[in-house]
């Protein structure tokens, strides 16, 4: 209603102006019957009111939609009664269709792209596999150096794959009840080459007497752990070094802490570590960093319902903490 009245304001003003003008003309001509003038004004006012009511009623739904400021969807309900609103309605419908089809087109493009990337990564895994086999058996420095690079290649490919899959996460994950400790052990052992080559060794400490069961997806969580472990090793400059991995239970939650004694993250960078493509001070000083590792960790944990925390001090090291809501861990009380 407010919008309608606001819209009719000029009409009001001109109507009053016109009324005054006509009365003025007659007044100047000598007509002095004020009662009659007022009566005429009143009659005229009523006609205006009737017109306005009629106008309002026919466009009520239209005005209401405009006032509420809802999206293009809402206008589908409105049935236009006046020429202006009808044309506007048509325009809105056309825009809406256009926007939906454009969205679909873009979505198609993205899907194609995703498919291509996934195919490509899988194809690349074969030559990587070949090289890996070729050097696996040899022990000379050249082969081990090639082996190191192949490990990095493989990690890079996995990074691309998981980033691409993140968008269609809901199709790709299966939640199970898993033992946190064995999952962590498997992830750590899978990286044994990395630890040995960099002379930074893991130490595991699970203080809980019973196994810590959590609800998670093995594949995705393993990827997250690999990212964190790789970071921890990468940013530990002294050798030999240690990565301390602690698992414990507090009330209804299971905690996993991975601490390194590396270079740490400057305070100024801390708030942004989980941003995509963020490399910060360390990214500039160390080897190539895509800046995607921690971003993926945060996204994936978010999807799985796990919390991520990070603490760090320059020169002292970094601690990454994963917190698992374990409705399953209640079962260990039995």
């Amino acid at each position: 209603m407010k919008l309608f009245l606001k819209d009719q304001r000029p009409l009001f003003s001109f109507y009053i102006l016109q009324l005054l003008t006509v009365s003025g003309v007659y007044w100047l001509d000598g007509y002095r019957n004020i009662a009659m003038v007022l009566y005429a004004a009143l009659l005229s006012g009523c006609l205006l009111a009737v017109y306005l009511v009629f106008r309002y009623m026919s466009n009520r739904s239209f005005y209401r939609c405009l006032e509420q400021g809802e999206g293009l969807d809402a206008f589908k309900e409105v049935s236009p009664q006046t020429p202006l609103s009808e044309y506007l309605h048509r325009l809105l419908k056309k825009q809406y269709r256009h926007y939906v089809s454009e969205l679909n087109r873009q979505q198609h493009k993205i899907n194609h792209h995703l498919q291509f990337i996934t195919q490509w990564v899988h194809q690349m895994k074969t030559p990587v596999s070949v090289i890996h086999l070729m050097v696996q058996d040899s022990d000379d420095s050249r082969s081990t150096a090639i082996g190191d690079e192949v490990d990095r290649l493989r990690k890079g490919l996995d990074l691309v794959l998981y980033t691409a899959r993140l968008d269609s996460f809901s199709h790709d994950f299966v939640v199970e009840k898993l033992d946190l400790e064995s999952l962590v052990r498997a992830a750590v052992s899978a990286q044994k080459r990395l630890f040995i080559r960099s002379k930074v060794f893991p130490q595991l400490e699970f203080t809980s007497k019973e196994p810590l069961f959590i609800a998670t997806d093995e594949k995705w969580l393993t990827f997250v752990l690999t990212q964190i472990l790789t970071n921890a090793v990468k940013y530990t400059a002294n050798e030999p070094g240690t990565i301390a991995i602690r698992g414990y239970r507090k009330e209804d939650e299971a905690f996993l802490e991975i601490r390194d004694e590396g270079v740490g993250i400057p305070d100024s960078d801390l708030p942004r570590v989980f941003d995509a493509y963020f490399t910060g001070e360390n990214g500039r000083n160390f080897r190539e960093s895509t800046g995607m590792g921690l971003y993926l960790v945060k996204q994936i944990c978010g999807q799985l319902g796990h919390r991520v925390e990070l603490e760090s001090a320059v020169g002292q090291g970094t601690l990454v903490r994963l917190i698992f809501r374990s409705e399953f861990s209640n079962l260990t009380k039995e």
Binding site: K125, S129, V130, L133, D139, V150, R154, V174, K192
Partner: protein, 233 residues
């Protein structure tokens, strides 16, 4: 003598697998014509099949079904795809196991042996995997002992893994890193000191057999086993 049938279109990968398997005493056949996999299978009559999923013409799942019409031998899929659905597909199409690329030789061999054991009930693969021989020194990997002539000494599993690597390399130097990789234990992992500890232990065990100065440290490179026991024989 077990025969392994390799269905992999990447020729280099196939050849690498073949070489490795032959070292373990298996005979192999690499498929040449991917239109006639079934016929080649019939002609080769293998004991086990290594089957890639992505093949020219028909995919691995198709060939698995075809082979299953002829035989119930173990079929191990190899593929770059590690999705759960891919694995389920493989198993539902008649496969017995699934290995993802890139893979380690260790895993391939372990799985092949495991499936052969289950299917044919024996360990025999041409010998050489259950025990390692190096110039008369014999390492029994199953029963965990080291023997020279008639004397034997018991070993821990880690010591076995270490000696296995050293003995398989003959007199070649084995790097520290490689040894650490081999003795990596899922329960206690390793650290910088672990290797020194085990080298000392292994030396003691060798001494128990009367072998001295065989396990040599090569500074900056690693360790090697020099057969100093020939004089004793």
């Amino acid at each position: 003598m077990f025969k392994i049938f390799i269905v992999e279109d990447d020729q280099r990968l196939a050849v690498l697998l073949q070489e490795y398997l032959q070292r373990f005493g298996y005979s192999t056949h690499i498929v040449q014509d991917f239109d006639r996999v079934k016929q080649e299978f019939e002609a080769a009559a293998p004991h086990l099949v290594l089957l890639d999923v992505n093949l020219p013409k028909y995919d691995g799942y198709y060939w698995c079904r075809q082979i299953r019409n002829l035989s119930t031998c173990p079929i191990l899929f190899i593929s770059a795809r590690e999705g759960k659905m891919d694995q389920v597909m493989a198993l539902e199409n008649g496969g017995d196991d699934y290995i993802t690329k890139p893979f380690d030789y260790d895993i391939v061999i372990a799985k092949i042996m495991s499936h052969l054991r289950r299917a044919y009930g024996t360990y025999a693969g041409g010998g050489g995997e259950r025990s390692v021989n190096f110039d008369g020194l014999r390492l029994d990997k199953d029963r965990l002992y080291l023997s020279l002539n008639d004397e034997r000494v018991e070993l821990s599993l880690t010591e076995v893994k270490m000696l296995e690597e050293l003995m398989q390399r003959g007199e070649e130097i084995v790097s520290r890193d490689r040894l650490l990789e081999k003795i990596w234990d899922d329960q206690t992992f390793v650290d910088d000191n672990t290797l020194n500890v085990y080298v000392t232990r292994v030396r003691k065990k060798l001494s128990a057999l009367g072998i001295e100065d065989a396990l040599q440290t090569v500074r900056g490179q690693g360790y090697r086993l020099v057969p100093r026991w020939e004089e004793k024989q």
